[in-house]
Symmetry: C2
Subunit: 203 residues, 2 copies
Amino acid sequence: MKNERGILFILSGPSGVGKGTICKALRAQKLNIQYSVSATTRNPREGETHGVEYFFKTKEEFQKMIDQNELLEWAEYVGNYYGTPIEYVNQTLDEGRDVLLEIEVQGALQVKKTFPEGVFIFLTPPSLDELRSRIVGRGTETEDLINNRMAVAKEEIEMMKHYDYSVVNDEVESACDRIKSIITAEHCKVSHVQPKYEKMFRS
Amino acid sequence: MKNERGILFILSGPSGVGKGTICKALRAQKLNIQYSVSATTRNPREGETHGVEYFFKTKEEFQKMIDQNELLEWAEYVGNYYGTPIEYVNQTLDEGRDVLLEIEVQGALQVKKTFPEGVFIFLTPPSLDELRSRIVGRGTETEDLINNRMAVAKEEIEMMKHYDYSVVNDEVESACDRIKSIITAEHCKVSHVQPKYEKMFRS
Protein backbone atom coordinates (compact mmCIF):
# COMPACT_ATOMS: atom_id res chain seq x y z
CA MET A 1 0.00 0.00 0.00
CA LYS A 2 3.06 2.27 0.10
CA ASN A 3 3.24 5.32 -2.13
CA GLU A 4 -0.49 5.31 -2.73
CA ARG A 5 -2.02 8.71 -2.25
CA GLY A 6 -4.40 9.01 0.69
CA ILE A 7 -8.12 9.59 0.23
CA LEU A 8 -10.05 12.62 1.49
CA PHE A 9 -13.26 11.61 3.27
CA ILE A 10 -15.82 14.32 3.92
CA LEU A 11 -18.23 13.61 6.78
CA SER A 12 -21.23 15.88 6.73
CA GLY A 13 -24.93 15.92 7.48
CA PRO A 14 -27.72 18.09 8.83
CA SER A 15 -27.18 20.16 11.91
CA GLY A 16 -27.92 18.11 15.03
CA VAL A 17 -27.33 14.70 13.44
CA GLY A 18 -24.27 14.03 15.58
CA LYS A 19 -21.27 14.61 13.30
CA GLY A 20 -19.12 15.78 16.21
CA THR A 21 -19.96 12.74 18.35
CA ILE A 22 -19.16 10.33 15.52
CA CYS A 23 -15.92 12.10 14.73
CA LYS A 24 -14.87 12.00 18.38
CA ALA A 25 -15.66 8.28 18.57
CA LEU A 26 -13.64 7.61 15.41
CA ARG A 27 -10.71 9.57 16.80
CA ALA A 28 -10.79 7.48 19.97
CA GLN A 29 -10.26 4.36 17.82
CA LYS A 30 -6.87 5.57 16.60
CA LEU A 31 -7.46 4.71 12.96
CA ASN A 32 -4.77 5.42 10.41
CA ILE A 33 -6.51 8.62 9.38
CA GLN A 34 -5.72 12.25 9.88
CA TYR A 35 -8.42 14.68 11.01
CA SER A 36 -8.49 17.90 9.06
CA VAL A 37 -7.79 21.00 11.12
CA SER A 38 -9.85 24.06 10.22
CA ALA A 39 -8.80 27.67 10.28
CA THR A 40 -11.03 30.09 12.19
CA THR A 41 -11.14 33.70 13.26
CA ARG A 42 -13.07 32.93 16.44
CA ASN A 43 -11.27 33.15 19.76
CA PRO A 44 -9.83 29.96 21.24
CA ARG A 45 -11.97 28.45 23.99
CA GLU A 46 -10.44 27.15 27.17
CA GLY A 47 -8.31 24.10 26.48
CA GLU A 48 -8.13 24.62 22.70
CA THR A 49 -4.67 24.62 21.12
CA HIS A 50 -3.58 26.25 17.86
CA GLY A 51 -3.03 23.52 15.25
CA VAL A 52 -5.02 20.92 17.20
CA GLU A 53 -8.69 21.98 17.34
CA TYR A 54 -8.17 24.89 14.92
CA PHE A 55 -5.61 27.09 13.29
CA PHE A 56 -6.53 30.39 14.93
CA LYS A 57 -6.25 33.31 12.51
CA THR A 58 -6.91 37.04 12.54
CA LYS A 59 -9.51 38.36 10.10
CA GLU A 60 -6.68 39.80 7.97
CA GLU A 61 -4.85 36.48 7.82
CA PHE A 62 -8.07 34.66 6.97
CA GLN A 63 -8.95 37.14 4.23
CA LYS A 64 -5.49 36.59 2.73
CA MET A 65 -6.11 32.82 2.64
CA ILE A 66 -9.41 33.42 0.83
CA ASP A 67 -7.78 35.78 -1.67
CA GLN A 68 -4.96 33.36 -2.42
CA ASN A 69 -7.31 30.35 -2.88
CA GLU A 70 -5.74 28.56 0.05
CA LEU A 71 -9.04 27.20 1.37
CA LEU A 72 -11.02 24.14 0.21
CA GLU A 73 -14.11 25.90 1.53
CA TRP A 74 -14.95 28.65 3.95
CA ALA A 75 -18.00 30.22 5.56
CA GLU A 76 -19.00 32.95 7.93
CA TYR A 77 -20.93 31.83 10.99
CA VAL A 78 -22.13 34.14 13.77
CA GLY A 79 -19.62 36.80 12.77
CA ASN A 80 -16.60 34.49 12.52
CA TYR A 81 -14.89 32.82 9.58
CA TYR A 82 -14.26 29.09 9.37
CA GLY A 83 -12.42 27.31 6.56
CA THR A 84 -10.33 24.29 5.51
CA PRO A 85 -6.72 24.97 4.47
CA ILE A 86 -5.91 23.09 1.24
CA GLU A 87 -2.22 22.80 1.99
CA TYR A 88 -2.65 20.74 5.16
CA VAL A 89 -5.01 18.33 3.35
CA ASN A 90 -2.79 17.90 0.30
CA GLN A 91 0.38 17.39 2.32
CA THR A 92 -1.27 14.66 4.38
CA LEU A 93 -2.69 12.90 1.30
CA ASP A 94 0.71 13.05 -0.40
CA GLU A 95 2.20 11.29 2.61
CA GLY A 96 -0.21 8.44 1.82
CA ARG A 97 -2.50 9.09 4.76
CA ASP A 98 -6.26 9.53 4.55
CA VAL A 99 -7.87 12.72 5.79
CA LEU A 100 -11.28 12.99 7.44
CA LEU A 101 -12.99 16.34 7.20
CA GLU A 102 -16.06 16.93 9.40
CA ILE A 103 -18.04 19.79 7.98
CA GLU A 104 -21.47 21.40 7.56
CA VAL A 105 -23.53 20.61 4.46
CA GLN A 106 -22.94 23.92 2.68
CA GLY A 107 -19.18 23.58 3.20
CA ALA A 108 -19.22 20.02 1.90
CA LEU A 109 -20.92 21.16 -1.30
CA GLN A 110 -18.13 23.72 -1.75
CA VAL A 111 -15.50 21.01 -1.22
CA LYS A 112 -17.25 18.89 -3.83
CA LYS A 113 -16.49 21.66 -6.34
CA THR A 114 -12.87 22.24 -5.31
CA PHE A 115 -12.04 18.58 -4.55
CA PRO A 116 -14.44 16.31 -6.50
CA GLU A 117 -12.20 13.25 -6.00
CA GLY A 118 -13.11 13.29 -2.30
CA VAL A 119 -15.46 10.66 -0.87
CA PHE A 120 -18.58 12.33 0.47
CA ILE A 121 -20.38 10.70 3.39
CA PHE A 122 -23.71 12.01 4.58
CA LEU A 123 -24.73 11.27 8.15
CA THR A 124 -28.50 10.93 8.52
CA PRO A 125 -30.83 10.77 11.51
CA PRO A 126 -32.79 7.50 11.87
CA SER A 127 -35.97 9.61 11.60
CA LEU A 128 -37.12 13.23 11.68
CA ASP A 129 -38.61 12.67 15.16
CA GLU A 130 -35.24 11.51 16.39
CA LEU A 131 -33.55 14.58 14.88
CA ARG A 132 -36.06 16.89 16.57
CA SER A 133 -35.55 15.26 19.96
CA ARG A 134 -31.76 15.64 19.56
CA ILE A 135 -32.13 19.34 18.78
CA VAL A 136 -34.59 19.79 21.67
CA GLY A 137 -32.31 17.73 23.90
CA ARG A 138 -29.62 20.38 23.78
CA GLY A 139 -32.05 22.49 25.80
CA THR A 140 -30.71 25.75 24.49
CA GLU A 141 -33.24 26.53 21.78
CA THR A 142 -36.69 28.13 21.76
CA GLU A 143 -39.63 26.47 19.96
CA ASP A 144 -39.27 28.87 17.01
CA LEU A 145 -35.60 28.16 16.71
CA ILE A 146 -36.24 24.41 16.88
CA ASN A 147 -38.82 24.62 14.07
CA ASN A 148 -36.44 26.75 12.07
CA ARG A 149 -33.60 24.27 12.55
CA MET A 150 -35.88 21.39 11.58
CA ALA A 151 -36.80 23.18 8.35
CA VAL A 152 -33.11 23.75 7.60
CA ALA A 153 -32.35 20.11 8.43
CA LYS A 154 -35.00 18.90 5.99
CA GLU A 155 -33.49 21.06 3.27
CA GLU A 156 -30.05 19.72 4.15
CA ILE A 157 -31.24 16.12 3.93
CA GLU A 158 -32.33 16.91 0.37
CA MET A 159 -28.63 17.49 -0.31
CA MET A 160 -27.92 13.80 0.30
CA LYS A 161 -28.15 13.23 -3.45
CA HIS A 162 -24.86 15.07 -3.95
CA TYR A 163 -23.02 12.61 -1.71
CA ASP A 164 -21.53 9.18 -2.34
CA TYR A 165 -22.65 7.46 0.85
CA SER A 166 -25.36 7.87 3.43
CA VAL A 167 -24.74 6.52 6.93
CA VAL A 168 -27.58 6.39 9.42
CA ASN A 169 -26.56 7.52 12.89
CA ASP A 170 -28.72 5.12 14.86
CA GLU A 171 -26.00 4.10 17.29
CA VAL A 172 -22.55 5.65 17.51
CA GLU A 173 -20.73 2.32 17.30
CA SER A 174 -22.72 1.06 14.30
CA ALA A 175 -22.32 4.36 12.47
CA CYS A 176 -18.55 4.29 13.09
CA ASP A 177 -18.38 0.70 11.82
CA ARG A 178 -20.16 1.71 8.62
CA ILE A 179 -17.77 4.62 8.10
CA LYS A 180 -14.77 2.34 8.64
CA SER A 181 -16.22 -0.09 6.09
CA ILE A 182 -16.58 2.75 3.60
CA ILE A 183 -12.94 3.73 4.15
CA THR A 184 -11.82 0.11 3.59
CA ALA A 185 -14.03 -0.30 0.53
CA GLU A 186 -12.79 2.92 -1.06
CA HIS A 187 -9.22 1.63 -0.78
CA CYS A 188 -10.35 -1.47 -2.69
CA LYS A 189 -11.87 0.51 -5.57
CA VAL A 190 -10.33 -0.61 -8.83
CA SER A 191 -9.74 3.02 -9.78
CA HIS A 192 -7.60 3.32 -6.64
CA VAL A 193 -5.55 0.10 -6.88
CA GLN A 194 -5.22 -0.49 -10.60
CA PRO A 195 -2.12 1.71 -11.09
CA LYS A 196 -0.31 -0.34 -8.43
CA TYR A 197 -1.09 -3.61 -10.23
CA GLU A 198 -0.12 -2.28 -13.62
CA LYS A 199 3.24 -1.32 -12.11
CA MET A 200 3.65 -4.72 -10.45
CA PHE A 201 2.95 -6.67 -13.62
CA ARG A 202 5.16 -4.49 -15.77
CA SER A 203 8.19 -5.09 -13.54
CA MET B 1 -33.75 -1.67 6.01
CA LYS B 2 -36.87 -3.72 5.25
CA ASN B 3 -38.22 -3.90 1.73
CA GLU B 4 -34.95 -2.80 0.19
CA ARG B 5 -33.92 -5.00 -2.69
CA GLY B 6 -30.80 -7.07 -2.06
CA ILE B 7 -27.55 -6.50 -3.94
CA LEU B 8 -25.85 -9.03 -6.22
CA PHE B 9 -22.12 -9.30 -5.47
CA ILE B 10 -19.97 -11.06 -8.03
CA LEU B 11 -16.70 -12.48 -6.70
CA SER B 12 -14.27 -13.36 -9.43
CA GLY B 13 -10.58 -13.38 -10.21
CA PRO B 14 -7.88 -15.32 -12.03
CA SER B 15 -7.76 -19.07 -11.81
CA GLY B 16 -5.76 -20.12 -8.74
CA VAL B 17 -6.27 -16.92 -6.78
CA GLY B 18 -8.36 -18.65 -4.11
CA LYS B 19 -11.97 -17.70 -4.88
CA GLY B 20 -13.27 -21.00 -3.53
CA THR B 21 -11.34 -20.69 -0.28
CA ILE B 22 -12.58 -17.14 0.33
CA CYS B 23 -16.14 -18.11 -0.47
CA LYS B 24 -15.97 -21.06 1.93
CA ALA B 25 -14.58 -18.81 4.68
CA LEU B 26 -17.35 -16.27 4.12
CA ARG B 27 -19.97 -19.01 4.26
CA ALA B 28 -18.57 -20.17 7.59
CA GLN B 29 -19.24 -16.70 9.01
CA LYS B 30 -22.99 -17.00 8.47
CA LEU B 31 -23.42 -13.55 6.97
CA ASN B 32 -26.85 -12.41 5.88
CA ILE B 33 -26.06 -13.30 2.29
CA GLN B 34 -27.23 -16.03 -0.02
CA TYR B 35 -24.76 -17.95 -2.16
CA SER B 36 -25.83 -18.38 -5.73
CA VAL B 37 -26.35 -21.95 -6.82
CA SER B 38 -25.20 -22.80 -10.35
CA ALA B 39 -26.76 -25.18 -12.79
CA THR B 40 -24.50 -27.80 -14.36
CA THR B 41 -24.68 -30.83 -16.63
CA ARG B 42 -21.77 -32.56 -14.93
CA ASN B 43 -22.49 -35.57 -12.73
CA PRO B 44 -22.85 -35.01 -8.99
CA ARG B 45 -19.73 -35.94 -7.00
CA GLU B 46 -19.99 -37.86 -3.78
CA GLY B 47 -21.70 -35.80 -1.10
CA GLU B 48 -23.10 -33.21 -3.51
CA THR B 49 -26.80 -32.45 -3.26
CA HIS B 50 -29.11 -31.06 -5.95
CA GLY B 51 -29.96 -27.43 -5.07
CA VAL B 52 -27.08 -27.09 -2.62
CA GLU B 53 -23.77 -27.29 -4.52
CA TYR B 54 -25.48 -27.24 -7.93
CA PHE B 55 -28.75 -27.67 -9.71
CA PHE B 56 -27.93 -30.80 -11.69
CA LYS B 57 -29.41 -30.72 -15.18
CA THR B 58 -29.42 -32.89 -18.29
CA LYS B 59 -27.95 -31.39 -21.46
CA GLU B 60 -31.45 -31.02 -22.82
CA GLU B 61 -32.69 -29.18 -19.76
CA PHE B 62 -29.63 -26.93 -19.80
CA GLN B 63 -30.05 -26.15 -23.49
CA LYS B 64 -33.64 -25.16 -22.81
CA MET B 65 -32.48 -22.72 -20.10
CA ILE B 66 -30.05 -21.17 -22.60
CA ASP B 67 -32.72 -20.89 -25.27
CA GLN B 68 -35.20 -19.25 -22.92
CA ASN B 69 -32.63 -16.74 -21.55
CA GLU B 70 -32.91 -18.19 -18.09
CA LEU B 71 -29.18 -17.89 -17.34
CA LEU B 72 -27.20 -14.85 -16.18
CA GLU B 73 -24.18 -16.46 -17.81
CA TRP B 74 -23.11 -19.89 -18.93
CA ALA B 75 -20.01 -21.64 -20.23
CA GLU B 76 -18.81 -25.01 -21.39
CA TYR B 77 -15.88 -26.43 -19.48
CA VAL B 78 -14.30 -29.84 -20.17
CA GLY B 79 -17.39 -31.03 -21.98
CA ASN B 80 -19.91 -29.90 -19.37
CA TYR B 81 -22.13 -26.84 -19.11
CA TYR B 82 -22.16 -24.51 -16.12
CA GLY B 83 -24.45 -21.51 -15.67
CA THR B 84 -26.22 -19.19 -13.23
CA PRO B 85 -30.03 -19.33 -13.19
CA ILE B 86 -31.49 -15.80 -13.23
CA GLU B 87 -34.68 -16.78 -11.43
CA TYR B 88 -32.95 -17.93 -8.24
CA VAL B 89 -30.91 -14.70 -8.09
CA ASN B 90 -33.88 -12.40 -8.71
CA GLN B 91 -36.14 -14.17 -6.22
CA THR B 92 -33.50 -13.87 -3.49
CA LEU B 93 -32.85 -10.17 -4.24
CA ASP B 94 -36.59 -9.47 -4.23
CA GLU B 95 -36.78 -10.99 -0.75
CA GLY B 96 -34.31 -8.27 0.30
CA ARG B 97 -31.34 -10.62 0.65
CA ASP B 98 -27.95 -10.13 -0.98
CA VAL B 99 -26.56 -12.78 -3.28
CA LEU B 100 -22.90 -13.70 -3.67
CA LEU B 101 -21.91 -15.29 -6.94
CA GLU B 102 -18.46 -16.87 -7.18
CA ILE B 103 -17.48 -17.20 -10.79
CA GLU B 104 -14.68 -17.31 -13.36
CA VAL B 105 -13.57 -14.09 -15.06
CA GLN B 106 -15.22 -14.80 -18.41
CA GLY B 107 -18.52 -15.59 -16.72
CA ALA B 108 -18.32 -12.40 -14.64
CA LEU B 109 -17.90 -10.34 -17.79
CA GLN B 110 -21.06 -11.96 -19.17
CA VAL B 111 -22.94 -11.15 -15.94
CA LYS B 112 -21.75 -7.55 -16.24
CA LYS B 113 -23.68 -7.39 -19.52
CA THR B 114 -26.85 -9.11 -18.29
CA PHE B 115 -26.82 -7.61 -14.77
CA PRO B 116 -24.81 -4.34 -14.81
CA GLU B 117 -26.24 -3.21 -11.45
CA GLY B 118 -24.27 -5.98 -9.74
CA VAL B 119 -21.20 -5.16 -7.67
CA PHE B 120 -18.12 -6.73 -9.23
CA ILE B 121 -15.27 -7.74 -6.93
CA PHE B 122 -12.00 -8.94 -8.37
CA LEU B 123 -9.81 -11.12 -6.16
CA THR B 124 -6.11 -10.60 -6.88
CA PRO B 125 -2.98 -12.47 -5.87
CA PRO B 126 -0.51 -10.47 -3.74
CA SER B 127 2.04 -11.04 -6.55
CA LEU B 128 2.57 -13.13 -9.66
CA ASP B 129 5.17 -15.25 -7.82
CA GLU B 130 2.57 -16.03 -5.19
CA LEU B 131 0.04 -16.99 -7.86
CA ARG B 132 2.55 -19.32 -9.53
CA SER B 133 3.36 -21.04 -6.27
CA ARG B 134 -0.35 -21.56 -5.60
CA ILE B 135 -0.85 -23.15 -9.01
CA VAL B 136 2.29 -25.30 -8.58
CA GLY B 137 1.19 -26.15 -5.04
CA ARG B 138 -1.77 -28.09 -6.31
CA GLY B 139 0.81 -30.56 -7.61
CA THR B 140 -1.38 -31.75 -10.44
CA GLU B 141 0.02 -29.73 -13.33
CA THR B 142 2.98 -30.13 -15.69
CA GLU B 143 5.42 -27.25 -16.31
CA ASP B 144 3.77 -26.44 -19.64
CA LEU B 145 0.34 -26.39 -18.08
CA ILE B 146 1.61 -24.13 -15.29
CA ASN B 147 3.09 -21.65 -17.78
CA ASN B 148 -0.10 -21.76 -19.78
CA ARG B 149 -2.21 -21.09 -16.70
CA MET B 150 0.08 -18.21 -15.69
CA ALA B 151 -0.36 -16.62 -19.13
CA VAL B 152 -4.13 -16.96 -18.82
CA ALA B 153 -4.00 -15.52 -15.30
CA LYS B 154 -2.10 -12.45 -16.51
CA GLU B 155 -4.70 -11.86 -19.18
CA GLU B 156 -7.44 -12.29 -16.61
CA ILE B 157 -5.82 -9.74 -14.27
CA GLU B 158 -6.03 -7.27 -17.16
CA MET B 159 -9.81 -7.66 -16.83
CA MET B 160 -9.69 -6.02 -13.39
CA LYS B 161 -10.52 -2.73 -15.05
CA HIS B 162 -14.07 -3.95 -15.74
CA TYR B 163 -14.69 -4.50 -12.03
CA ASP B 164 -15.74 -2.15 -9.23
CA TYR B 165 -13.43 -3.44 -6.51
CA SER B 166 -10.16 -5.27 -6.27
CA VAL B 167 -9.43 -7.27 -3.13
CA VAL B 168 -5.97 -8.68 -2.57
CA ASN B 169 -6.02 -12.24 -1.23
CA ASP B 170 -2.99 -11.97 1.03
CA GLU B 171 -4.62 -13.68 3.99
CA VAL B 172 -8.04 -15.32 3.97
CA GLU B 173 -9.26 -13.42 7.04
CA SER B 174 -8.14 -10.00 5.76
CA ALA B 175 -9.61 -10.65 2.32
CA CYS B 176 -12.93 -11.67 3.90
CA ASP B 177 -12.93 -8.53 6.06
CA ARG B 178 -12.42 -6.37 2.97
CA ILE B 179 -15.27 -8.10 1.17
CA LYS B 180 -17.55 -7.61 4.18
CA SER B 181 -16.61 -3.93 4.22
CA ILE B 182 -17.50 -3.65 0.55
CA ILE B 183 -20.90 -5.24 1.25
CA THR B 184 -21.54 -2.79 4.10
CA ALA B 185 -20.36 0.19 2.06
CA GLU B 186 -22.53 -0.73 -0.92
CA HIS B 187 -25.59 -0.73 1.34
CA CYS B 188 -24.64 2.83 2.37
CA LYS B 189 -24.43 4.10 -1.22
CA VAL B 190 -26.72 7.08 -1.64
CA SER B 191 -28.14 5.52 -4.80
CA HIS B 192 -29.21 2.55 -2.67
CA VAL B 193 -30.70 4.37 0.36
CA GLN B 194 -32.09 7.59 -1.10
CA PRO B 195 -35.48 6.15 -2.13
CA LYS B 196 -36.00 5.03 1.49
CA TYR B 197 -35.33 8.54 2.81
CA GLU B 198 -37.51 10.21 0.25
CA LYS B 199 -40.34 7.93 1.35
CA MET B 200 -39.64 8.61 5.05
CA PHE B 201 -39.67 12.36 4.63
CA ARG B 202 -42.74 12.39 2.43
CA SER B 203 -44.81 10.53 5.02
